[in-house]
């Protein structure tokens, strides 16, 4: 099937009102190209604008406003959003289009095909980059478009926040390397952004907490949190965290944070626990 001059004229008229919508688009995408059809004859093709959207199944906490980013061990989710032009007498829905997905120049056959506008692909290995391309065309090969994106694998970002009984987790303020905390007893929550996990307490995540170089046995129910009580201490603490993943050997986070908590005292910490132990004074929680 080829489009005649009448349709050509009609589509040309439609370019003007659409130019606002696609202000950031290379308008040459709407120009007609000459191509060769399967029988060897010359036919016109219409460049098809493709939006290639990407995120990941990686973990982000509730109310997070940013995007879930692909990190090592997670999957990339992609959607090719095609914009078939509306041309008099011709209807072409996105579901009718044929999508050919390629990852690093290899066609991924099991996710390609008619109507396959969404795919899930593995993230690149650590420090690697994956080039993903999608070619889209109509069944009559008139509408043709493609889009590419280069995805660099990131490492999960592990940040520490205060978890207040009334406020909840203060996601607005990630703790830095040196912190002053007003309260004497404080719960700290570790949030593993972009990890391959369903929650911070996912059983695949292995937390190892340290307080002033003393190991703290993680809570079985809430291993991502650590409660520190400095009521009988000088309030100074160094919190250490090692976070690994049972099925992803590349996830190996090590972090330390210095804390100066509310009240002054005489000795070391009276208690520091996930509800399990006291590394200093032998006072059980």
């Amino acid at each position: 099937m080829t489009y005649g001059r009448g349709i050509l004229f009609a589509f040309t008229l439609l370019i003007a009102p659409m130019s606002f919508v696609y202000a950031q688009t290379d308008l040459s995408a709407f120009l007609f190209d000459s191509g060769t059809n399967s029988t060897g004859g010359i036919q016109n093709t219409i460049a098809l604008p493709i939006d290639l959207l990407v995120d990941s199944d990686s973990y982000t906490p509730p109310f997070y406003r940013g995007r879930a980013l692909p990190a090592i061990g997670t999957s990339i989710r992609l959607v090719a959003f095609a914009h078939p032009p509306t041309i008099s007498g011709v209807t072409q829905s996105a579901g009718d289009l044929i999508y050919t997905w390629k990852q690093d120049d290899r066609v991924v056959g099991n996710v390609s095909g008619q109507g396959r506008s969404s795919v899930t692909l593995p993230s690149p290995m650590l420090y690697g980059t994956s080039n993903i391309e999608v070619d889209v065309e109509s069944t009559d090969h008139i509408l043709v478009g493609s889009a590419t994106i280069s995805i660099h694998a990131t490492e999960p970002v592990v940040l520490l926040y205060e978890d207040n009984p009334l406020i909840g987790i203060a996601f607005n303020h990630a703790l830095g390397t040196s912190n002053t905390i007003a309260e004497t007893e404080t719960t700290f929550a570790a949030i593993p952004f972009f990890a391959s996990a369903l929650s911070p307490n996912d059983s695949r995540l292995q937390y190892s907490w340290m307080l002033n170089n003393n190991a703290i046995t993680p809570s079985t129910s809430d291993p991502s949190e650590l409660t520190v009580n400095a009521s009988h201490s000088n309030g100074l603490a160094t919190i250490g965290l090692s976070l690994t993943h049972t099925t992803n050997i590349f996830m190996d986070f090590q972090g330390t944070w210095s804390m100066s908590l509310g009240s002054a005292g005489s000795n070391g910490f009276s208690s520091a626990s996930n509800g399990t132990s006291d590394p200093f004074g032998g006072v059980s929680q």
Binding site: Q24, G66, L69, R77, T120, G168, N172
Partner: protein
């Protein structure tokens, strides 16, 4: 009786000692007065000259303390002789979950919800006072939305870890006991006469748990929200406040979306911003059909204008942030290094926006770090006239030794007040803007 003879020099010595002691006491008095004045001046300069909270007596109530505290802060810091013409007013120093302007008989008030208790407060920016209007305790409110009629959406995290969403209204009577009704577990204790009383409860219904994000038409209270679907993506659902007309109009494998609902009813869907990847933004009609607004912009943030094709959008690059305006076919760089979500459009037909602009350079991957709370900025307020192509700095909080990282700005319908949250500590502020 024999008189005791006291030698003259002794009497003279005692008299001199008495005079010296009195003189010393008088001197000590004036010394202490001078120290007290110094401390008061220092406290005032620090903004800590707030009257200590009281919980009993003629002013013993939370809302009274709130009013005293907020009034003192704004007066002390910015305009010691007036509370009605402050350029900047700290409405609440406690973390705030969300806010919105509501219509009252006296004009527009700013209603807001504190994160730690879920109480709804109403602030009058004209006289810089705030009072609590609900007595229902709901701790750990992470997000709140306010409709023009005062209805409230409060969102928290349930025991299962799923997000809970309460559609609440301020009751005019004692709350009913029902599984879907919020129990009035905390009531304000006293009024100004010290008599036990009760503030209205916040009653309502909970939507299904796990709603990822929700937006509301502030006028009609119609809702659009995204909730996880079985395929790991999200479904987009519309419904009215009463739970009727529920319809799934959108479905996506991508779950990182930021919805907006303008007061003209249009829904804007933008990919969640990141400095790492390009973003796309769409306008969605009532049937879920998407029309591209902006496409393929790194670090995309978008602010459409109601009833107009004009929009602001932010982008990131290795050079930092950049803000653009687009009214016709071309985008115009505004020369401001900020994001669209730090801006508000002046209501009406003018093409004027107010934007908070970080005063320093922002780091690489600023957007992601800002959303994670690991980076904060100190912002100045700018007035941008897109039509005239001008941008003028109108206020710098640093001139008052204040650093504000602006988040979620909203403007009243008159265009006189911009309310925003300081992302550093989630305190609530109002900026008075001159027209």
């Amino acid at each position: 009786m024999k008189n005791i003879h006291i030698p003259g020099f002794v009497r003279l010595l005692v008299g001199a000692m008495v005079i010296l002691m009195l003189g010393g006491l008088v001197g000590w008095y004036f010394y202490l007065q001078a120290q007290k004045n110094t401390i008061t001046t220092t406290d005032t300069a620090r903004g800590t000259g707030t009257i200590a909270p009281s919980f009993e007596g003629t002013t013993g109530s939370t809302q009274a303390n709130q009013a005293i505290a907020t009034q003192a802060i704004s007066t002390d810091i910015y305009h010691p002789t007036s509370t009605s013409t402050s350029v900047l007013w700290q409405v609440d120093g406690a973390p705030v979950a969300g806010m919105g302007f509501v219509h009252t008989a006296a004009g527009e008030n700013l209603n807001y919800v504190e994160r730690g208790n879920g109480y709804v407060f109403s602030a009058d920016p004209r006289i810089e006072s705030a009072v609590r209007v609900t007595g229902t305790l709901l701790p750990q409110v992470y997000e709140a939305l306010i409709a023009e009629d005062g209805s409230v959406i409060e969102r928290s995290i349930g025991a299962s870890g799923a997000i809970t969403t309460l559609l609440g209204t301020v009751s005019s009577s004692t709350p009913q006991s029902a599984s879907t009704t919020v129990t009035n577990v905390s009531r304000i204790s006293t009024n100004q006469q010290g008599v036990d009383t009760q503030l209205p409860a916040l009653s309502g219904v909970y939507l299904s748990p796990g709603i990822q994000s929700i937006v509301m038409n502030h006028t009609t209270r119609s809702l659009f929200y995204l909730t996880a679907n079985a395929q790991g993506g999200v479904d987009g659902i519309t419904q009215d406040w009463a739970g009727k007309k529920r319809s799934t109009i959108f479905s996506s494998t991508i779950r990182s979306w930021r919805p907006m609902m303008l007061d003209d009813g249009s829904i804007i869907l933008t990919e969640s911003p990141t400095s790492m990847f390009p973003g796309y933004s769409y306008r969605m009609d009532s049937k879920g059909n998407l029309t591209t607004l902006v496409r393929n912009i790194q670090g995309l943030t978008v602010l459409p204008k109601i009833g107009s094709p004009i929009l602001l959008y932010g982008a990131t690059s290795e050079n930092g942030l950049a803000l653009f305006a687009r009214s016709t076919t071309t985008a115009q760089a505004l020369g401001l290094a900020t994001t669209a979500e730090k801006c508000v459009w002046l209501p009406g037909k003018s093409e004027v926006a107010y934007c908070a602009v970080p005063s320093g350079t922002t780091p690489i991957n600023y957007l992601d770090s800002w959303y994670q709370g690991s980076v904060h900025t100190s912002d100045d307020w700018w007035k941008v006239d897109v039509f005239a192509g001008t941008a003028v700095r109108i206020y710098s909080p640093s001139s008052n030794n204040t650093s504000l990282d602006v988040r979620d700005p909203v403007i009243d319908s008159s265009g006189n007040y911009i309310a925003f949250i300081n992302a550093t500590n989630e305190s609530l502020w109002v900026l008075r803007v001159a027209q």
